[in-house]
């Protein structure tokens, strides 16, 4: 087993590199992805090694980045688009929702929309609002799209490769505040399938589900809860659409209590979907209603306030207290 320690940023870079080596049809395109290596340096050095035809510095227009990727995909390429920041994806929303998601269907399966849209998402880096948003639910809502998120360097390394190899269009959400955290990466064997959730920490009292940056926060909350005598089972959803409800339901049927953690406003969110779907599945096992710990129903705040907006250990523990407080 070849295990290496690397940051999530490096793991993504290595994953992209490996995908480009494996398939010449894989292209990387976006703003500043070439010479600069991307504003987060995720594509650092790729243009130097794979050339300007495969690592394409694009003009600054997100709809065109995605729209031309659609055409390249029709032509048989596997473009990996970088949207520089979450808040800049909206100009491409029309292309993603009207075309990327639906051309496979519209063409009766003839077109394969084999493209990946990389989306640095969630907050926590002290940036402006458009660099800190969590737009994943918009895409999870759209039939034809898949949405995944990595929480560890190892998942980053493998999930980006699995997404590129997949024939459906995938919105690849990267927790930008975790880019520089290090972790062990087994570069020989993918630990699990792209659409599988994973139990990051087993527990007995409350099932806590989240993804991306929230995973580490949940794990810290679980440590704090343990000190208080409450055992949290932490699940990294990994796939946001489709959700691996089987893994989540198996946990919830044991604990009977659910808390979902994410950074988007809670209305019509992934948290809403998880609570709804698991309530349907596990209704007879529930000891308490499923709760969300999420962003508030406000625009992303000025980042001096973001830690009051994002789910924190305290807010997660408060939700844990609430679900533990229900008569069961």
């Amino acid at each position: 087993m070849a295990t290496t320690t690397m940051t999530m940023a490096k793991a993504l870079n290595e994953g992209l590199r490996r995908a480009m080596e494996a398939n010449k049809k894989v292209l990387v395109m976006g703003e500043d992805v070439g010479k600069l290596g991307g504003v987060f340096r995720i594509t650092d050095g790729l243009q130097k090694d794979f050339g300007e035809d495969r690592v394409i510095d694009s003009p600054l227009a997100e709809s065109a980045i995605v729209g031309t990727a659609v055409g390249l995909s029709i032509r048989g390429y596997r473009p990996v688009c970088e949207i520089q920041f979450d808040g800049f994806v909206y100009p491409a929303f029309d292309q993603i929702v009207s075309q990327v998601a639906k051309l496979h269907k519209r063409s009766d399966g003839v077109y394969t929309m084999s493209l990946v849209i990389r989306l640095p998402f969630q907050g926590g880096i002290g940036a402006i609002e458009h660099h800190s948003e969590s737009p994943e639910a918009y895409f999870a809502h759209t039939a034809g799209l898949r949405v995944v998120s990595c929480a560890t360097p190892e998942d980053a390394y493998w999930m980006i490769q699995q997404s590129i190899a997949h024939d459906d269009p995938i919105i690849f959400c990267e927790p930008k505040c975790r880019y520089w955290e290090k972790g062990e990466v087994d570069t020989e064997r993918a630990p699990r399938g792209l659409f599988e959730a994973v139990v990051r920490r087993p527990g007995a009292d409350v099932t806590v589900v989240g993804y991306g940056a929230s995973v580490r926060t949940m794990l810290r909350a679980a440590e704090a809860a343990e000190a208080e005598g409450i055992s949290l089972e932490v699940i990294d959803a990994r796939s946001i659409a489709p959700l691996d409800l089987d893994t989540m339901a198996a946990s919830l049927e044991r604990t009977g209590r659910l808390v979902v953690v994410h950074e988007a406003p809670h209305t019509a969110s992934i948290g809403s979907e998880i609570v709804s779907a698991l309530t349907e599945r596990c209704f007879y096992s529930l000891r308490a209603p499923g709760l969300q710990v999420s962003g508030y129903h406000t625009p992303y705040p000025p980042s001096r306030l973001e830690e009051d907006y994002r789910p924190s250990v305290d807010r997660i523990l408060d939700a844990v207290d609430r679900v533990m407080g229900f008569e069961s």
Binding site: Y284, E327, S328
Partner: protein, 453 residues
């Protein structure tokens, strides 16, 4: 040749009707496919409708100026054999519409075929495969599984409110779901035996309850409803009236009844008293009457209507009697004037009559003070409810050997408990305490008092 009807199509103009502007054909005219037939006008536009058939016009269903609803007949055409094959369509009674609009049950909007009929407000399709009905299995408890009890939250709340722990319960619902009925079964201990325990069936003989023979536990219905009539109704009404009109309070005391029991034992041996059943109740009755004589205020009632307290100088001593018909409270009229033997005889007669079910209504009227004897049931005490119109009721528990401190030493004595409920509107705690102490003293040393009478 066949007669075809062209129904006014939804031309996507946004309305559900159109007005006939002008006919471009007349009855008898020969028409070819797509030949303009008519101009119709909606509020949005005037549209020329081409014929979907070749043939001869046989009927124009509307005149110029008529407003026609979408999907209503517009024109009928007798087609010739060479006409293009019509689209397959359902056949109405009188004519086969060769070209019926693709969707007949749509409501026009701005664009498209219009809004489809989203279905009648009744179920038109079969239910999706309902699982075959399953015979209910008994509720079973089993070794606690790792899973949380499977039940709906409301049922859980119900169980919680009734003190039922659902852990380890396997319900009779689908996949072991615990239903409300399961909780109810657990509540009444109904047929829900744990497999590891022998079934509890209870005795096979009937028991009496409010004047009825109740079937044994194992064989009777799970739920039995008994009409509230007769004695039961009287009891219920009396207790309700009393409980909600007289503010009850109670005092109680433990009594060394050894001398009472010794006295009773010695009296039983006397030939003159042969045939007289002497019980502690008789001594208690004598004591109560004596207390009334000493404290008449306890032998009273509260007349709210007249704003008066009614004190009686006669004791009509009520005795709560457990009879086949249920609880009745006949009284011994003028009990304060009886000696012990008279009291014993009166009580014997009263009880015999009550058990025979022949107690006269008059025997139950006018009670001034009551005794309820729970000793035969082998319990120590009770806090009774006053019969309406009385000021006090004394409960007597069993007389049983118990440790007792006598002269600083613990000895075994025959001990009983007395409790007295009283109407706190006119009887206060001090009076009640004195009365009960008086009775207790009487029982602790009945001899001199019986004589003093």
């Amino acid at each position: 040749m066949s007669r075809e009807v062209f129904l006014l199509p939804d031309v996507g103009e946004g309305l559900v009707e159109a007005e006939i502007v002008s006919w471009k054909v007349a009855v008898g005219d020969a028409v070819v496919l797509n030949q303009p037939l008519v101009d119709v006008e909606t509020a949005k536009a005037t549209v020329e409708l081409p014929s979907p058939f070749a043939g001869t016009v046989v009927e124009l269903h509307h005149a110029v100026g008529d407003v026609v609803e979408v999907h209503q007949p517009l024109v009928s055409i007798e087609t010739d054999a060479s006409a293009p094959a019509p689209a397959p369509a359902a056949t109405p009674a009188e004519a086969s519409p060769a070209v019926e609009p693709i969707e007949q049950t749509r409501e026009a909007v701005l664009v498209g075929y219009g809004v489809g009929d989203e279905g009648a407000a009744t179920r038109t399709r079969r239910r999706r495969g309902a699982p075959a009905p399953v015979a209910p299995a008994p509720v079973a408890r089993e070794a606690a599984p790792a899973l949380a009890p499977r039940s709906t939250p409301p049922v859980r709340l119900y169980a919680k409110q009734h003190g039922i722990d659902l852990a380890g319960v396997r319900g009779t619902g689908r996949d072991g779901l615990i239903t409300r009925a399961d909780v109810e079964a657990l509540l009444v201990g109904a047929p829900t035996p744990a497999p590891s325990r022998p079934p509890v069936t209870g005795p096979a003989t009937p028991t009496r309850f409010v004047g009825h023979d109740l079937a044994p536990w194992a064989s009777g219905p799970e739920v039995e409803r008994i009409p509230v009539r007769g004695v039961l109704r009287s009891m219920a009404e009396a207790m309700t009236q009393s409980a909600f009109s007289a503010p009850h309070a109670a005092v109680w005391v433990r009594v060394d009844a050894t001398r009472t029991m010794e006295l009773l034992a010695s009296l039983k041996e006397r030939p003159a008293l042969a045939g007289v059943r002497l019980s502690p109740l008789a001594i208690v009755a004598m004591a109560v009457c004596d207390a009334a004589r000493h404290f008449p205020g306890v032998n009273s009632s509260f007349d709210a209507d007249q704003s008066e307290v009614v004190v009686r100088r006669v004791v009509n001593l009520g005795i709560a009697a457990d009879t086949p018909r249920g609880l009745i409270v006949p009284n011994v009229k003028g009990a304060d004037r009886l000696d012990l033997v008279g009291m014993a005889r009166a009580l014997n007669a009263l009880v015999d009559t009550a058990r025979a079910g022949t107690t006269a209504p008059n025997d139950m009227l006018g009670t001034t003070i009551t005794i309820t004897n729970v000793g035969p049931f082998n319990v120590d005490a009770a806090v009774p409810i006053l019969p309406p119109g009385t000021g006090a009721i004394v409960a007597v528990g069993r007389v049983a050997p118990a440790p007792w401190v006598l002269d600083g030493a613990v000895v075994v004595r025959q001990v009983t408990e007395l409790a007295m409920s009283f109407d706190h509107r006119q009887v206060d705690g001090a009076l009640a305490s004195r009365v009960l102490r008086h009775i207790a003293d009487y029982l602790e040393d009945p001899g001199p008092r019986l004589i003093a009478g």
